[in-house]
């Protein structure tokens, strides 16, 4: 199975926990769902917010995705990746879908200024690991070429299609397609995913 962070196996136990919890969730265990929520609500909400900008819409997407995790836990296939990737792929896809719907794009223009006060992560470990993830990702993004980094961040965090990225960067389509692939692959190697 793909490790979430390969050589940095310090998260291996957390991954195992998420995997076994999801199995319990599939059997209707609300306590296990609380665990899954605890570990995934931050990144699910965070990625939706990064893509959509609007906290209210991010919250709606996060709610949909977290309920969907509950609903379809029994359909999760470990052969296709970790629970974290399964859940965050879903969160990112839904956020992107919203961005691309006309309704959302209109609302997106009128970006809600700044967040109201938020409760903290109530978990030191989650917080530390999120910080470490952030530091590692930031470091690894710096190892990419400018075009790779811009392509990856515009597509992933910006929610743009690669055709839109190509237009924004005034770069040929094929180049952006390739940079997205080799940029993500370089990130994968830098982050030790799947090692």
């Amino acid at each position: 199975m793909l490790g979430r962070s390969g050589p940095k196996s310090d998260t291996a136990e957390a991954v195992a926990t998420l995997e076994s919890c999801l199995h319990q969730v599939a059997l209707g265990d609300r306590g296990a769902f609380d665990t899954v929520y605890q570990q995934l609500a931050g990144p699910v909400y965070g990625v939706a917010r990064r893509v959509l900008r609007d906290p209210a819409q991010a919250e709606e997407v996060a709610q949909e995705v977290l309920v969907e995790i509950w609903r379809t836990a029994g359909r999760y296939d470990p052969a296709r990746g970790t629970v974290r990737a399964w859940a965050l792929t879903m969160a990112h896809a839904r956020a992107v879908d919203r961005v691309r719907s006309v309704d959302a794009s209109n609302r997106r223009e009128a970006r809600v200024a700044e967040m109201m006060t938020e409760p903290p992560f109530d978990d030191v470990v989650e917080a530390v690991e999120a910080h470490l993830d952030r530091q590692r990702v930031r470091h690894c993004l710096e190892t990419l070429t400018d075009l790779q980094r811009q392509s990856v961040t515009l597509a992933y965090y910006g929610g743009y299609t690669y055709a839109q990225v190509a237009r924004l960067l005034e770069t040929p389509l094929g180049t952006v397609k390739t940079r997205l692939r080799d940029g993500l692959a370089r990130l994968r190697d830098c982050l030790g995913v799947g090692a």
Partner: protein, 253 residues
């Protein structure tokens, strides 16, 4: 019949980043069904993308949990897939303390790890005051996370486990979590140390959970500490370390 675009393999990245137009996405998904190499690459790039998502993690509004709970209470699950050899699933969640911070910490840490809180230099966790402390700690954590100079680091503990720290000089605070420690025999305890040019001072004995392993600490008043140490001491702690440190965690700020 449509000829297969030889460049279609190059779409793995755009696909993993959800950057394809719908028609192209559908075409690529058909291609995926007969390209195991592409499936493997997509899986890896999705794990990578998941780390981009993790790096964007933000605490959601507290009301989200209530909304999700209310909705799942009335949402029927699709039937679980029954496998020949179901993965062993520990009975987690049942019988745990329900206080939010305790459950959160316990769940955030590795399986079976219990956790308690001490605020160094202020007061040590006390069973009666846990809830107050949780509120106090939540506020402190929020401030710590919001500080622009907050940095994180982690190192392994030589006897097993991992030490993690999130620290800010401007806030003069560090959140320290020690995960997966080996259970100690009776009469021994783990003790934290703040080590700096002006000497070594105790960071307190790590609170011990039900199963002998222990959790996280919010340290206030970092002083000149450059390193967080961990030693095994007689229960109750020592004035100065009496054994070789099993962890030396550099203060990341």
């Amino acid at each position: 019949m449509t000829a297969i675009d030889p460049e279609i393999h190059a779409l793995t990245g755009a696909y993993a980043a959800h950057a394809l137009e719908p028609a192209e996405q559908a075409a690529f998904e058909r291609h995926l069904e007969r390209c195991p190499t592409c499936r493997q690459e997509v899986a890896e790039l999705r794990e990578t993308a998941a780390l981009l998502a993790s790096a964007a993690a933000e605490p959601p509004p507290a009301r989200l949990k209530a909304a999700v709970d209310a909705q799942i209470a009335v949402t029927r699950q699709v039937p679980p897939i029954v496998t020949a050899t179901p993965a062993p699933a520990p009975d987690r969640g049942a019988g745990r303390p329900r206080r939010r911070w305790v459950t959160a910490l316990g769940w955030g840490l590795a399986t079976g790890l219990a956790a308690t809180v001490a605020v160094l230099g202020v007061r040590v966790a006390d069973q009666q005051n846990q809830l107050d402390q949780a509120n106090q700690r939540d506020a402190a954590m929020a401030a710590l996370l919001a500080a622009p100079d907050t940095r994180a680091d982690s190192v392994p503990v030589s006897t097993g486990g991992k030490g993690m720290v999130l620290a800010s000089r401007s806030h003069d605070e560090a959140a320290i979590a020690i995960n997966g420690l080996t259970k100690l025999p009776a009469g021994q305890a783990y003790q934290l140390w703040m080590i700096g040019p002006s000497g070594t001072r105790s960071g307190g004995v790590l609170p011990t959970g039900d199963n002998g392993t222990a959790g996280s600490v919010l340290a206030r008043g970092l002083g000149d500490a450059r390193t967080i140490g961990l030693t095994i001491e007689p229960s109750g702690g020592s004035a100065q370390p009496t054994t070789t440190p099993i962890m030396l965690l550099p203060m990341p700020v």
